[in-house]
Every structure is written in C-alpha cells, then in structure tokens.
Amino acid sequence: MKFLLYLGCTTATKQYGYELSLRATLPLLGVELEHPKDMNCCGVPMKGISKFYPYYACARIMALAESQGLDIIAPCNGCHLNLTETIYKLKLNPLLMSAVNELLKEEGLKYTGKAMVYHPVEILHDKIGIEKITSSIKRKLPEIPVSSHPGCHLIRPTEFPRPETRDGPLKLDRLIEAIGLKARDYPEKYECCGAAILPYSPEAAIKTAAFRIKRALAVGSKAITSLCPYCIDMLDGKQDAAKTITGDQNISIPALYYTQLLGLALGLDEKELGMSLNMSPVEVLLEEVKV
C-alpha cells in the first residue's frame, strides 16, 4: 500500500509530532508514504475569502496525486473533508469541474476524479485493520482510560461520506482499545475544539477547548487523543492559555496523537514520535504507560 502523504498546512508547519509519528508508525504496518514534490493549501480556512478557491486548491492536490497514480492520505480533518467535498461537488457540477480543469491545464495537470482520499483513521481501521495492529504491536499498553476526540469534520456533515459516525462506536475508540488502552466516553466528545475561532477571537477559541478538556477530566480520563492537527493544537497546545483565561488551574491532561500512542505500543521511542513537542504533560502518561 503506497499513498501520497498530503500533510496540509497545520501538520506541516507546526504539528511536527503528528508528522513524525505518522512517518514512524505507518511504514511498520505496511503502508508506504510518498512525500509530494508540489503542494498547496487545501483552502479550508480560506472558504470565507473565496467560495471557489477550495475547489481549485483541492482539485489541484488530487490532480497531483493522479499524475503520480496514487491515492491520498490526508491526516487533517479539515483537509480530508474539503478534499471529499470537492470530489462530490465537482462530480455534481460538470461546469465547475471543466472550469477548474481549464486552470489546471495551464499547470500541466488534469483532475478526473480518480484519486481517492483517506484519513489515517480509515487507513488504520479499514485498510490495515485491528487484527494486523494487535498482531504487530510489541506490547499492550496498560488499561488506562483515554478519551478520543474525533473532531467535527471526521463525523460531519453526513451529506458526504465521513470516516466516522456518531451513532455507533468510533473507529478511533476501537483503535484505542486495540493497543490495550480503555476508550472512555465523555460528553461533548463530538463537539468542536474551537480552532477555527482562533483568527477571530483567541480567547473564545481557548474557552471552547477548555470546556472539552474539563469534560474529559471529569470522567476520569488520563489522556485525550485525536487524529486531527487542529484538535491537538487546541487541546494540547493551549492548556496553559486555558488556565490563564478560565482561571482553572486543574486544566492539565496529556493530549496527544493516536499515532503517538500507537508508536509507543509498537515499541518506538518517544523521541521518534515527537513527544517532546507536545505542550501538555505527556510525561505523566509516559510514566503510567512505561510498566
């Protein structure tokens, strides 16, 4: 299995822990990752600037994948939704499809709709499979309660096929249990991390993230995990700010990528998984995990 790793801006410019852990874990499970030579922003944060930019940007990304004959892994929920939405919208609107291709033609590209887009949760759960993961891990992590935060765009909108649904058990939760941890539900699990409010009001955004962290703490979770760079950026990177803004000094919980947890189970070193880059107290979790 070989895929084009389309990182997206947030992962590639600051959430290095995600990229490191993806690059470290997936090859051990038989997934080959191709680094793109040409890449642009998927357009999610720019939707308000221009309705058309995301279609052009995503069609361009997929045309690049098509030119290499590869499908895409999009580790960011935002990129994954936007790419999927573009596939659907362009299919429904041949006029828009042709117009976008007129632009791509000038760059020597062509988007036909062949390339598929996958999120790491689909790669891990559907392509690799729980069985392969359980048989590949070096050691089971202890049964400590961990809460998953799938992130909005992994489940919404159901108008387009999304990797997860909220009416059944999450694939992410099954993956958590596959490496020995205990998936613990918490209210507001399907809520928003608030990342997209940051440009308008950092304070409001951080308040939103603080709500989620408090809920996870309330159910006794020892960590929050996600597979979205925006969510982890908020839940991991903004804990100090959340303490200041809300005045609640109890906001402190390890927040990390599932691929980092998976890496630990696969016997990888925390350094390889970029865990020194997590801002939240992941060392507390590491203590508990190292038995």
Partner: protein, 659 residues
C-alpha cells in the same frame, strides 16, 4: 339508435368565474367552434356547473335535438359526473358527453399568453368535438354489495367505525394484529383538552364492540390477502396461535400468576415487564392471555408447563396452529393507525435509548398511568427517583426535511398535557417546554394552553435544543437558545420527554401493497381528495379512518371513523354499486389469444379462455377491470379496446390537435 342518426353536438364553454375567462377569450372560442361541422349550438356561460348552467344543456338537448354534448371547463375529475348527470336528465345516455379541460391544461398555465391560450383552448375543444362525434352509448353494470364490512385495526378509529356500522344493522369483522383491541389510545392516561381519563372513555367502547351481536372480533390476527373489488372482496386472515383455547378460557389469570418467566412488555414500551403468558394490559379485550413462545420455557426448552398445570379450565393448548380464516365482505375500512418515529436510530443526538432518562411522550403516559409499570408514580427510569426538573422537547423528528416533513398535530398539546402531569404529580417540580411554535388549533386547545401557562413552575422556552448530553455523574444537560429572552439557557433536567413525530403503523404498508391503494409521499394513505373526499382511497370500497390517513388527534380520528362508517353504511344500504363503463372489451373475432395482455393487467382482470370452437381468446372480468387501458395499448391486433377511449376516438383527437 344513435348511430344511424345525424350527429348533433352542443358545445358549452365555461368561464369558471374568471379562472378561464380572464385568460381565454371565451366568446371567440364559442364562435370558432360553432363553425365546426355537426356543432348545432355553441355557447359560453359563467358557471356551467351551476344549476342554471346545467339547465342550459338540458333545455338545448330538447330544443335542438342534441345527441352529443361537449363541455369545455375544468378537469373532468371533479365535474365530469355533474355534467353526465345533466345529460342524462336531458334524456341522453350519460356517456354521449365529452369534456375538454381548458382550465388546468390551459388558462392556469398560460396566464401571460392570452392569445395563444385562446388558440390552444379552441384546439382542445375541437379535439373533444372530434371524439364526441364517435361516442357510443355505454352501460353501467350493477354489482351487488355483500352486506358485511371488514375493519382493519382495533384502535379507537376501528372500534368507533365498527360500532357505527354494526349499529346500522350490518355485520362487521374487526381485525387487530395485537392480542387486545384498544390501540395507542389505551396507553394514554388522560386525554386533552378536558383531561378525562383515557381508559374510562375507551374501555366501555372496547367492551361494547366485543359484545355487539353484529361484530366479530379477530384479535392477534393479520390480513394476508385481499382479492376482488367493491361489493365483493375476498379476504384471507391469519389468526396467530395464542396457545390458549378461547372457548375454554375464563380470563381468570391463574396461568399468569403461576408463570415464572418474564419479558419486556410491548404495551408498556419496554418500561415494564410481563410474563411469558400475558394479558396485553389489565383491561384487555378479549381478556384471554397469549403465550409468547420466544420467552416461554416450554417452547424454548420443553419444560415448565406451569400454566397448563394450574389452568382450572384446561384451556392451555401448546399444539395450537395458525388458523386461516376466509371472509367475503362488501367494503373495507383501514384504521391501522400510527407508530412513533424511530428517534433512537434516526436522531442519535437526542440520546433516546442511550440515556435512560430520555423518554418519549407515550412512555410518560405509561409512567403516569395507574395501571402502568410504576403504578402511576412519575419516576426516572435510571434510578427510580422522582424528577424535580423536567424538560419537554416538542417537534422531535417532525417539521424536519431530514426526518418527517409534516406536523404531528398533537405533539404541542400533548407536551402541554405532559407538563400538567408532572406538576400535578410532583407539585414542586419545574417543567421546561422547548417549543418552536405552539399549535393549539383544536376545540378547547387554546383555552387548555392558557390554563397550563398559568402554572408558575411550567416555563416555555422558544427554541429547540440541538443535542442532549450526559455529564460524568450521569446527569443530562443541554443548551437551548430561548428566543423569548434572547439568551442561551443551559438546562440540567432530571428527565427529558421527547414529543416524537409519528409514522404510519408498519401494517399499513403491507395492507396497502395487497390492496394496491395509493400511498402519499409521507407514507400515509392518500385520500381521494384532501378536502372533499378525505375518507375514500384510490380503491373503490376501501375507506380510511384515523391516523392511517395522516397525523390526527382523537376528536378528528373519531370524526373520520364515523364518516368512513357512514360511507360503508351508504354503500350497503343501497345494496349495489354500478361499475364504471370505461372497461376493456375484447373483440373475439380479432383476438388471436396470444396472451400478451394477461400478465400486463395489474388487476388480474384478464383470463384466457377456450371458446366452443376451440379458439383461445382473452376474457375481461369487468368487476375487476379498472379501465387503465394497458391491455388496449399492448394488444397487437387491436382486439382489446377500452370502451369510451377506443383507438378510433383517440386518433380522431390526435388528428384534430395536430392539424
């Protein structure tokens, strides 16, 4: 006979007030068509369907010796019978009449192109004239109506309709799929707006219908097949085995006391338990228990037989088999009612079935009922404690393009009633009703709403929550934007009541398939006309009562049940029906017996028969034929013709229109 006579046509162009006349130049149209050969008179008039309008036709038939009449007006759906009767009163065969639709097909759709519309209207009338020239008198056949009715569904609608028919002196067979009649109304504690006890007004009717000499009750029975047509339906029922001999059982209930096995009760919507041998509810009619083989240890493992041992009348019969019952009836009433929308599956965001303390309004009725699982105490299903703060959410699944587009028509008043239940049982409780619009349209409903608004501890929040969440300690909470106070309110209720939308009962889908009656886009039965024929279906002799036609409250359901019953009574009192004359007819000389038409007929009206000379020909059962014309269109030799719409007549119209 008419055929030898000179054809003399009278043409009448209706203004339909201004519906037609404001677009079509009716004077000009009348003048144009008066020039057509065979047209003796051509007139326009403001309302042809009025009494004076009809009299013009009758007078003209006599004065001008007309033998064909053409009226250009609205769609024939409404007024074709009106004019046919007028023509008949004038002394002609009613089928020597033809109608041109220059309203729906012309003036209403060409409002802005008056000149072209007038031309089109003239063409349409000329085509009708062309057909009228070739019309032949047709005959209606009389078919006797079997004076016996079938009522499907034993809820309040079916019970009321059965009683009305039975009281008029006709025989009724009432079929109910559950072990007891009573339906959803039996689950209610009180009925709005008067708050009278539901059981108190329903059970007397249940008993009355079961004891009525003209009513035969078939409980725990399904409809398997229905054949035939109005006046003569052949019905096949399947009586499911109760494993209790009805002729021996006295309803003493000893078997139930002795039965050691339990299962969730269907009647209590899973809130309570019943035994493996059970009455649906204490006031069940008939009061004969049923064994549920799925939970009975004898059926599962071959042991126990406690019920059999203790039955004083030896009524238990483990060998009972399903029993087929055949009936012949003249008319059918569908009263299959409703079930609740499956919110657990369709709307996971409200957490119904996921959180124990989120219940439906119907479940609350059971919690309040003195005979319910909690003996009338309102408690939280999770811990059995009395809820002090209750949120009632209206429009759950209703008025939603992604779920049910229609209004459930009783959720608002039911929600208000439920708030009353809470404060009357738990006076210090606080109730929040989250509503979108409060619709209290029925008689006395607004007054009831006002009465409930007076309670200080019942608060109305104008807004719907998006989702219900559960906190770490198990308590429920949600945010709702209140447009009345313009702020987001966070509620932490002990109990949440969802006033869910409703869908047709699943049995309706099967019956509709058997009967081939029309179903609306919402899944409910489609009435023949939303205003003027609300109890009739697309199948003659099949009538509707209650929520099978669409959401209804009890008063409307009972009213419609009475209306459906009176339609049935009218049919039976008359004793016969006249068949439509536009049936298929086979010219046996032309028919090659190829049989192409037979499988195409949707109504099984065509059979292949051998004539005396050995030639195989198609034969039409005019009792079954609906005049759809499929056989005539498919017949390769032109032997099958639809009377009143034969090839010659249709082609004459086409030729005129394309000239």
């Amino acid at each position: 006979m008419v055929e030898d006579e000179e054809v003399r046509i009278g043409v009448y162009i209706c203004h339909c007030g201004l519906n037609i006349a404001s677009v079509v130049d009716v004077k000009k149209a009348a003048e144009e068509v008066s020039k057509v050969p065979n047209v003796v008179v051509a007139k326009d008039y403001q309302f042809m369907c009025s009494q004076p309008g009809q009299n013009i036709i009758i007078e003209d038939i006599k004065q001008h010796r007309l033998n064909r009449v053409v009226v250009a007006a609205c769609s024939p759906r409404m007024h074709e019978p009106t004019f046919q009767k007028a023509v008949e009163r004038g002394g002609l065969n009613p089928y020597l009449f033809e109608m041109a639709n220059i309203r729906e097909h012309c003036s209403w759709v060409h409002e802005k192109e008056k000149v072209a519309a007038t031309e089109k209207a003239i063409k349409l009338v000329k085509a009708a004239i062309a057909k009228a020239r070739l019309l032949k008198p047709l005959k209606r056949e009389k078919v006797n109506v079997i004076p016996r009715a079938l009522v499907i569904g034993g809820g309040i609608a079916g019970i009321r309709a059965s009683l009305d028919i039975a009281n008029a002196g006709f025989e009724v067979h009432l079929v109910e799929t559950r072990p007891s009649i009573g339906g959803n109304m039996a689950r209610l504690d009180k009925t709005f707006p008067t708050l009278d006890c539901s059981q108190c007004i329903l059970t007397p009717l249940m008993v009355e219908v079961s004891r009525h000499p003209n009513v035969t009750l078939h409980t725990y029975t399904d409809v398997v097949n229905i054949d035939g047509s109005v006046g003569n339906f052949k019905v096949k029922l399947l009586k499911k085995p109760r494993y209790v001999d009805e002729s021996k059982c006295t309803g003493c209930g000893t078997c139930i006391t002795k039965c050691p096995w339990t299962a969730p009760s269907e009647f209590e919507l899973g809130l309570g338990k019943r035994k493996a041998i059970y009455f649906e509810f204490p006031q069940a009619v008939p009061l004969i228990p049923v064994i549920d083989p799925e939970h009975c240890m004898y059926f599962q493992k071959g042991t126990c037989r406690a019920c059999e041992k203790f039955c004083p009348t030896k009524a238990i019969d483990f060998n009972q088999k399903p029993e087929e019952i055949e009936l012949e009836v003249g008319a059918i009433i569908l009263a299959t009612g409703y079930s609740l929308y499956d919110v657990a599956k369709a709307m996971p965001e409200y957490g119904y079935r996921k959180y124990k303390d989120v219940i439906t309004g119907l479940e609350l009725e059971r919690l309040v009922s003195a005979t319910g699982p909690t003996k009338g105490h309102i408690v939280r299903p999770s811990d059995g404690k009395e809820p002090k703060k209750v949120a009632i959410i209206l429009c759950v699944g209703s008025r939603d393009e992604k779920h049910l587009r229609f209004c459930c028509r009783f959720g608002c008043v039911a929600g208000i009633k439920h708030a009353y239940y809470i404060v009357s049982h738990i006076p210090d409780a606080e109730v929040y009703i989250c509503y979108r619009d409060i619709r209290t349209f029925g008689k006395g409903y607004e007054e009831f709403y006002e009465r409930i608004r007076n309670y200080e501890n019942i608060k109305f929040i104008r807004g719907s929550p998006m989702e219900i969440l559960q906190d770490a300690d198990g308590s429920l909470y949600f945010d709702v934007f209140d447009a009345n106070t313009n702020r987001i309110v966070t509620l932490r209720p002990d109990l949440v009541v969802l006033e869910t939308g409703i869908v047709p009962h699943p049995t309706f889908k099967e019956v509709a398939k058997i009967l081939k009656c029309a179903v609306g886009p919402d899944g409910f039965a489609l009435e023949l006309h939303p205003k003027l024929r609300p109890t009739e279906t697309s199948v003659d002799g099949v009538f509707l009562a209650g929520a099978v036609q669409g959401p209804k409250d009890i008063p409307d359901t009972v009213a419609q049940a009475g209306a459906a019953a009176s339609s049935v009574i009218a049919l039976m009192s008359k004793g016969y029906v006249e068949t439509i004359p536009y049936v298929s007819s086979i010219n046996e000389d032309l028919c090659s017996g190829c049989g192409i038409c037979q499988p195409l007929c949707a109504y099984d009206a065509i059979s292949l028969v051998k004539k005396e000379d050995g030639k195989q020909v198609a034969k039409v059962d005019i009792g079954k034929c609906k005049g759809c014309g499929v056989c005539a269109a498919a017949c390769p030799s032109g032997a099958a013709q639809q009377l009143g719409f034969n090839d010659e007549q249709i082609l004459a119209m086409v030729r005129t229109l394309t000239r």
